[in-house]
Amino acid sequence: MTLLSVRDLTVKFATRDSSVTALNRISFDLAKGERLGIVGESGAGKSITGFSLMNLLSRPGFIDNGTILFQGDDIVKMSESQMRSIRGNQMAMIFQDPMVTLNPVLTIGQQMVETLRAHRKLSQKEAEQIAIVKLREVYIPSPEDRLGQYPHELSGGMRQRIVIAIALLLDPQLIIADEPTTALDVTIQADIMELLLELCQSNKVGLILITHDLGVVSQMTERTLVMYAGKIIEAGRTREIINDPQHPYTQGLINALPQQTQPGNPLKQIPGNMPSLAAIPNGCAFNPRCEYALDHCRTTAPEIVQYAHVEVACHEVSRLHSDKSEERSA
């Protein structure tokens, strides 16, 4: 069953006299309980996608076009009060940096209870009981005592666990996690990811994991979207994208992983930088950095089409593929 269906989502940022396109006709689906990864470099539009789903774009960003059907209702057309009743309730979000996510002057208890009471008629006591249960689920020791504590009294990993507990408070259908471990210690990152995976599986919650870490994506998700300059350039089952990437950009990303390089050799980089949104090149946005680019890549933008096991937006994907098979056979 489809939980979320995004069609031709276009997000723009108003500038002084015109606007720049941050998301260019993004389409994807998410089944109930499915886990989807969105990967790409900084500025590719991953986070903007996440915030658009919550209808929480802050000015000057706005949804220009497209539909976001969540359980059949279009989020784009919803009033602010309808949207409020969905946020935190059916669709929850985990932010990047737990050090600045929780309000420093409110206790953990206040921040959990207010979330519950914003969506359900509960007494203070009842809400606290639910909060304690959820804190226990994320393995917070002595949860009763935590309710009276302020965020600054807890470590970063502990705070992110609390943010996860808050996300689960109202048993949502979908959790959007925007780089949930980027700000944490490497040693804690794995713990948090494992916890998130375990909770999503046991509660059958859909997950959209926004990250630039392909390793994390391969462990956590069933399907993956690769984004570049505001577009989806490759989409499919995570295993296939990791093992047999089709788009030159995705191939570059995977080749750039330290595991793909012999120790002592320099990492394989993709030459150049991602273009700024105000200056996206004509044709395929990746063409200036692409070693396979031909003339038509510089004039016409490729549509996303089914190829092999995945969907990919590249004119030269078949040539690329035959080159690769030749390499292999050679």
């Binding site: 802050s58 409020r84 935190g88 929850a92 932010f95 996510t101 929780l102 309000n103 979330t115």
Partner: protein
């Protein structure tokens, strides 16, 4: 907490020591007390005798030590003009000034929070622009001019409010007679309080507005929205509480500053408080009274700042007063 308090009291004592030193240095250099005491027609020998008697020929250190010793016992010298202990003269005038400051504080607190929050939440409405425009005018126009304009419009023009004095007072205890017990008292204190607030109120509106706008951009406000919290709760619980932390600190200093501004307001409205008294004392070269005023105002400054720091510690959970004392 106690350790922090003791530390703060020590700091306060140090500040008071410096103020007393400055105050005394002024006294030592401001005119000749004998001229004020004796007048012109006394011979030089008698003058020298009295000089010796009063200890005016002693060294600065000895004189200062004597002054400090007396000050610690509450004796800040005798006013030349009133022929009374200077501290008594000031304490009689103090309630009038404090009530004026209190009235202004009510106006500032009552209006700055709602107007500051409103202009932060709805920065582009016409009302916000009007408030921000007026606040610039309020900050720019000096208090004495605002005060005179108010008298001209509301006292002379419309006759809604009296233009001078304190009106009907009700005795509370000691030297304290209050304006806040009768309608006449209220009508007398209204214009002076408003004039006194005229600079601080716009300052606080702007301060709260800019702090609030910054807080509204923060991650935790975005996160609160992502949790589906009601907007009014985001504004008044999540955002306002964080907004007020720096405002409290600034506020503490400004209350002290307001006591100083009373000199202008009280003079224009002939308000019988210590600011008005101070100006008269300066005209009469009543040095002991001037010095006593400086010390009392310094004391008020130090006390309000200490209290404000304690309140800040209580409001901000990130300040651990117990740990700060150690």
């Amino acid at each position: 907490m106690l350790a922090y308090l003791v530390k703060r009291v020590f700091q306060a004592v140090a500040v008071m020591f410096v103020i007393s030193l400055i105050g005394f240095a002024i006294q030592d250099n401001l005119g000749d007390p004998l001229r004020e005491l004796l007048g012109q027609s006394v011979s030089e020998e008698v003058r020298q005798e009295l000089r010796e008697e009063l200890g005016l020929n002693d060294s600065f250190v000895i004189q200062y030590t004597r002054f400090l010793g007396k000050a610690l016992q509450g004796d800040l010298g005798t006013s030349y003009f009133f022929k009374e202990p200077a501290l008594d003269v000031i304490l009689k005038k103090l309630p009038a000034t404090l009530e004026l400051v209190l009235g202004a504080t009510f106006i500032i607190v009552g209006f700055s929070v709602p107007l500051g929050v409103y202009t932060a939440i709805r920065p582009n409405t016409i009302l916000s622009r009007i408030i921000m425009g007026l606040s610039i005018v309020g900050i720019s126009v000096p208090v004495f001019l605002t005060a005179i304009l108010m008298i001209y419009v509301f006292a002379v023009g419309y006759g809604w409010f009296p233009s001078f004095g304190r009106g009907d007072l009700v005795h509370v205890f000691g030297y304290w007679e209050t304006n806040f017990a009768t309608l006449d008292g209220w009508s007398h204190i209204f214009l002076p309080s408003l004039a006194l607030a005229s600079i601080m109120l716009p300052l606080f509106i702007r301060l709260i507005r800019s702090e609030m706008m910054e807080v509204l951009q923060s991650e935790y406000v975005k996160y609160a929205r992502a949790k589906g919290i009601w907007p009014w709760r985001i504004y008044f619980v999540h955002a306002l509480k964080n907004t007020l932390l720096p405002v409290i600190t600034v506020g503490g200093v400004q209350i002290g500053t307001m006591v100083a501004y009373t000199i202008l307001t009280e003079t224009v409205f002939q308000w019988p408080g210590m600011g008005f008294m101070f100006l008269e004392a300066v005209n009469r070269v009543d040095t002991p009274l001037i010095v006593a005023y400086l010390i009392v105002v310094g004391f008020i400054f130090v006390v309000t700042n200490t209290i404000v720091d304690l309140i800040y510690g209580l409001v901000n959970p990130m300040v651990n007063l117990a740990r700060m004392g150690a």
